[in-house]
Amino acid sequence: MIRWIRQQLGFDPPHQSPTRTIYVSNHFPQYENFVHQKFPDNRMISSKYTVWNFIPKNLFEQFRRIANFYFLVIFLVQLMIDTPTSPYTSGLPLFFVITVTAIKQGYEDWLRHKADNEVNNTPVYVIRSGGLVQTRSQNIRVGDIVRIEKDQTFPTDLVLLSTDREDGTCYVTTASLDGETNLKTHHAVPEIAKLRTVSQLHTLRAVITCHQPEPDLYRFVGQIRIQQNPNNIVRPLGPENLLLRGASLKNTNEVYGVAVYTGMDAKIALNYKSKSQKRSSVEKSMNTFLIVFLEILVIEAVISTILKYAWWYEPSYNERTTQEKNSSRILTGISDFLAFLVLYNYIIPISLYVTVEMQKFLGSFFIVWDLDLYHDATGQRAQVNTSDLNEELGQVEYVFTDKTGTLTENEMKFRECSINGIKYKYINGNLVREGVTDGEKYTFTDEEKMFLKAISLCHTVHINDQEETRRSNLNSVVDSSSVQYYAASPDEKALVEAARKIGITFAGSSEKNILLNEFGKEQRYKLLDILEFDANRRRMSVIVETPEGKKILFTKGAESSILPLAKTGEIRTTSVHVDELAMKGLRTLCMACKYLTKKEYEELASQLLAARTSLQHREEEIANVFNLIERDLHLLGVSGVEDKLQDKVPETIEALKLAGIKVWVLTGDKLETAISVSLSSGHFHRAMNILELTNQKSDTECAAQLQRLDTRIKHDHVIQHGLVVDGTSLSLALRGHEELFIEICKNCSAVLCCRMAPLQKAKVVRLLKTSPAKPITLAIGDGANDVSMIMEANIGIGIMGKEGRQAVRNSDYAIARFKFLAKLLFVHGHLYYVRISHLVQYFFYKNVCFITPQFLYQFFCLFSQQTLYDGAYLTLYNICFTSLPILMYSLFEQDVQPHILQNKPSLYKEISRNEVLSLKRFLYWTLLGFCHAFIFFFGSYLLRGDDASMMGNGQMSGNWTFGFLVFTVMFITVTLKLGIETHYWTWINHFVMWGSIIFYFGFSLLYGAIIWPFLQSQDMYCVFVHMLSSGSAWLGIIVIVVACLFPDVLRKVFWRHARPTLAQRSQLMEPNSGITCMESICCYSRGETVCSPLRRILDQIMGRCKPLRVNRCWSDLDPCYTNDRSILTLSSMDGSSNASVV
């Protein structure tokens, strides 16, 4: 019993065997001591909360945030001891902040619930008690046999039992899982595949044993034991038998499968893991500032407490109670300290987090909405997966980019090849031998034919839908020119298409056969075996039986994995040709073949079957057999496929460099290809001295080479250096000489890493990220092999490319094209950074202004914790009076116009290394806050003077009038200070800025207009009106506000002229767009003088003002920094700014 409870509570993990046993149709064995394995039901749960646990769980999560917890503590202190302010003053804002956050999170969770319900309630057909029953998806249990029809999505992970085809195959697309658009063939176990009706399947008695759920989509190891008379049959199960939840059925009318992993055990669900939270540097600074202000708060409270007791005396007119007289000094001291803490607690801006969150959430829409980040050809917008990192986009120092599909189109074209040591060019569908001038007709040699056959046979390409079905019906080859190919690998597709143009057409394949059309003649090859591609072997093979009955192994793969295995053929010339092709930037693949005798084949086939059916270490054994088969090959030749650069890649890379960002290219490609792409993309340029750290075999050799490179760089620092590293050398360099390596990398203006494994990419990123300077890194890539790097870097960007959506799903932002990176960083990154960093600074500034007068007031009231402002104003200051202007500022501010930002990457340097939140700026803002607070307080103090009347009728005012005076001055100053910081006044800014001030006056008048029955005090009754009826107060407010803002304006003007920043110069370059203040309030465009008011208001609300500038940045009219001249002008501008500094 106790154990059961402990298990339920999760203390004892339930006993888990390494495998799970599934009884098909849940026909459990009948013996006594049989233990049921428990499986979850098929409900998908992506939501975090339920109705019952939402409040406690959400509250718990919110109070884990330090600021919220702090305010909770303050609130509790206020409840417990006698404090100057009522608990409402901190309770209400806290309640407000918590509620806003809870509503946001609740809404998001509600959406998830809705999506979950939709998925969980889809109807499915399940075989129960001998018949087909319709039920809901969530009711599927492990062991149920499920029927799926054409184009349906699999409701759970199923082992395929049978299909409506004779051979037990079905076609599946996994586009929604990994984005691969090709059709994949899945097989049923032949012995079961013949059971095609419900009643037949119902009689099936079988047990599936497979491993426990794991997230790897491409791994499934299991076996099925079919109970048949007289004896049981055991068959292996692999990924080709498993139909994954989320994939959908194609080209097959219906299939039956048995559920193996249900609900949250399904592979797709296991892949929904929450990503580790990335935190931006702004957030880190924010937390540091928070701690600084906590310290200031404690120091102020300690000073106040000490002074209170140093000056201790209780005036005789204010008798204490006996209880107070008798309580101990220490206790009163502590309670006084806490009271001061409560009094000054507003120095920590309560609404900071909620405002930052809103800003990020709302602000990220501008990325999604951006037309410049919209790719017309594919119709894809930019995608924001996390809004936490918006401002980090403005801080990038290192960009790590993948090559294929990121810099290049990943659109392959067959260009050249080398067959049997002779080079060919592929021109207009003909193979032209090098040296031969004209494409005269000639018959193909055997070697050429073999090479083309290898291309056409050894691949994973499928042909399109209609063809497939027609062929299976008619059993004949149809017009081959109309065939469409679908392939997971674009290289293969390019090769097969080229072979078709030349004359050998791949016309389709089935389980057992491959049809080729060789120069018009139909040939049927018997497919004996496929040795699938994997990343370690970097090659794939097929074993076929030719129509003549010969058994041949064809192998295709990277040259590094084929050449060492080749025994015969023109190996030496071919390897020279491989390098030559690679130099041209072509991707190379080597082809080889091997004739097998019947005996050899049978031996290998039996080994293969044994390996494939083994339950333990299956992968290793298969790899061993593969290696055994693929050896002593005959080299046929090498193909060269071109991958075109995406447009504007060189310009983008050049711009990134101008912005002071270091670009590293990390690719799995071979050295020569990588270098040539680097050169063509402008990553390396001709004048660069290229250093190589390649082919290092041993540690000492590597160390020596590193040392050499280091001295070389130190010796020669005029010229720019580029570094090329390959994977193996890199791992050597990282093992023992990390620091030296980093040192060298830092001094190189471009680094290229080739032959990188996915994990190595991530390792390089981590290395740079954790180096002492802690630079901000950005990784960009499109393929599954970039995922680790994307997740490792501070910012991960996925390219929506052809290699599936894994990179996109794991990224923080996704864009369609590499060139969009420029706008994303230079415009959005810059603006978001400027916005949010000013938001943070301003928030702390306004709270310093707010609470310091309260501190100063203590010196004039015997440290009795008398508040200067009324409770309502303490409460509403942060959440009403000053919240909207800064939020709107942080959404709409543009210190420099976007098109200037994009055209001048050097502007990016000005905000690098968290410049706006640097210690200097932070001190400036904080001191400014304190100075302003002193001016408010002592200005008001002097205005009061010897307490001469401020009224025309000689009447006197009291402490609340004084507090109001300080508060009004402070509020107006703080709001106008934001106005000074605003460079971009849209009508919204006008509205909230002036609206806030009007609201403040309106509220104050209303608040003092009557004696509110629900308020405890009547202190504020008519005080505001009384103050405003004094001419001196008005004049005083004006002069104090001017005195506060004057030095600030002066400073700004002075620096703008004496030492302008690049951004300020850029502001000058386009003297403002001719819109005046009044026009911007009315949402006018330039030149418009009269407005048709109603329409205008409507447009205003919808935000549909006429766009000002129509020309877009990437249009052809506006070449940005495409030509060298603009770069020159840029650098001269930099130079002049330097000159003026000197």
Binding site: R381, F860, Y941, S949, Q1018, C1022, H1057
Partner: protein, 341 residues
């Protein structure tokens, strides 16, 4: 099929509006010298003009301040500081050189008196002062320890503020060659209109109009010589709506403060005057001072040179920096032109 795709593509295309593309028409001011310098000069001139006006207005206000604490043995009120004296009176003479046109305001001033002490400031019951009978008998807890007397009888008005009410009184005489005539002092309208008419009200019984009956069952504050309903004979100025009481109840912001005492509507003619002080209020225990002040009033209030000076300083700083900036600006412009050449 491709058309469908195109439509899907178009649907995904973001709206090309000024709002979504962050191109809302906007005023883009930047603080360059071209804008700011004229503003500086204009601001400076306006401020200096205002400042001069304020300064002279303030200087025209005449203020006569008389200290009567009686700390030093020479002062005429010294004898009243002894503990055992009751109903002590002392006189202070002063001379008016120039006519003080009416109305002249008469203030008393306390120094080092912390009316803004938190525990002191909250020690009142606004509901009681509003005439609420319930709170008259059951004063708020905030009044503690001036809530009830030893026999648990409620104090009206309760609290420390009321208890410590200033109770010196002044009579002003004009001295005309040893002939003394009383100067009429007006106590009407010395408190805020809203306080007198709305916030403060006497408790009213349904049947009777007698103030004394309404206060039945309460006791006077400890320090008061007589109960609230005997503060004045004029029913319009008695009980909680006694204007001296209302003035006192508006707590001052800082420890040195003035409270309006009376108005002299006819002003003061040149000559000798004499203030007769009933000295009741002890201030020496907390090191305080007491003063009585006569002041005329301009539209902006009493004598306070600060505002005028502040405007003058701001204005002149603005103009001076404007001139400096102009020089820097011209120099910088020149440099720029040279650089271009």
């Amino acid at each position: 099929m491709s058309r469908q795709r195109d439509q899907a593509v178009l649907k995904n295309k973001p709206d090309n509006t000024a709002f979504t593309q962050q191109r809302l028409p906007a005023w883009q001011p930047f603080l360059s010298a071209g804008y700011v310098l004229p503003t500086f000069f204009l601001l400076g001139l306006v401020f200096i003009a205002i400042g001069l006006g304020l300064y002279f207005t303030s200087n025209n206000v005449i203020e006569i301040e008389l200290e009567y604490t009686g700390r030093s043995p020479n002062s005429s009120c010294h004898h009243c500081t002894k503990n055992d004296t009751k109903d002590c009176k002392c006189n202070i003479e002063f001379k008016v050189d120039k006519t003080l046109p009416g109305p002249v305001f008469m203030y008393y001033e306390l120094v080092n008196f912390y009316q803004n002490h938190r525990k002191y400031g909250v020690s009142r019951d606004d509901d009681q002062l509003n005439g609420d009978l319930k709170y008259l008998k059951e004063p708020s807890e905030y009044c503690f320890p001036f809530r009830q007397d030893g026999q648990n009888r409620p104090i009206a008005p309760c609290g420390a503020i009321a208890n410590s009410m200033f109770n010196d009184s002044f009579v002003l005489y004009k001295v005309n060659n040893s002939e003394i005539s009383k100067v009429p002092l007006n106590s009407k309208g010395i408190s805020w209109w809203t306080d007198y008419n709305v916030k403060f009200n006497n408790p009213k019984l349904d049947n009777g109009t007698d103030l004394k009956q309404a206060f039945e069952g309460t006791v006077k504050p400890h320090n008061w010589p007589r109960p609230a309903y005997e503060l004045d004979t004029n029913p319009e100025n008695n009980g909680f709506i006694n204007e001296d009481f209302i003035v006192w109840m508006r707590t001052a912001a800082l420890p040195t403060f003035r409270k309006l005492y009376r108005r002299i509507d006819d002003g003061l003619q040149p000559g000798k005057y004499l203030v007769e002080i009933s000295y009741n209020y002890p201030v020496l225990s907390f090191n305080g001072q007491k003063r009585v002040t006569f002041s005329t009033i301009s539209w902006m209030g009493g004598r306070n040179p600060f505002l005028g000076i502040a405007y003058l300083v701001c204005g002149s700083v603005s103009i001076v920096t404007g001139i400096i900036m102009l020089i820097v600006y011209i120099k910088y412009q020149g440099q720029n032109i040279r650089k271009v050449e």
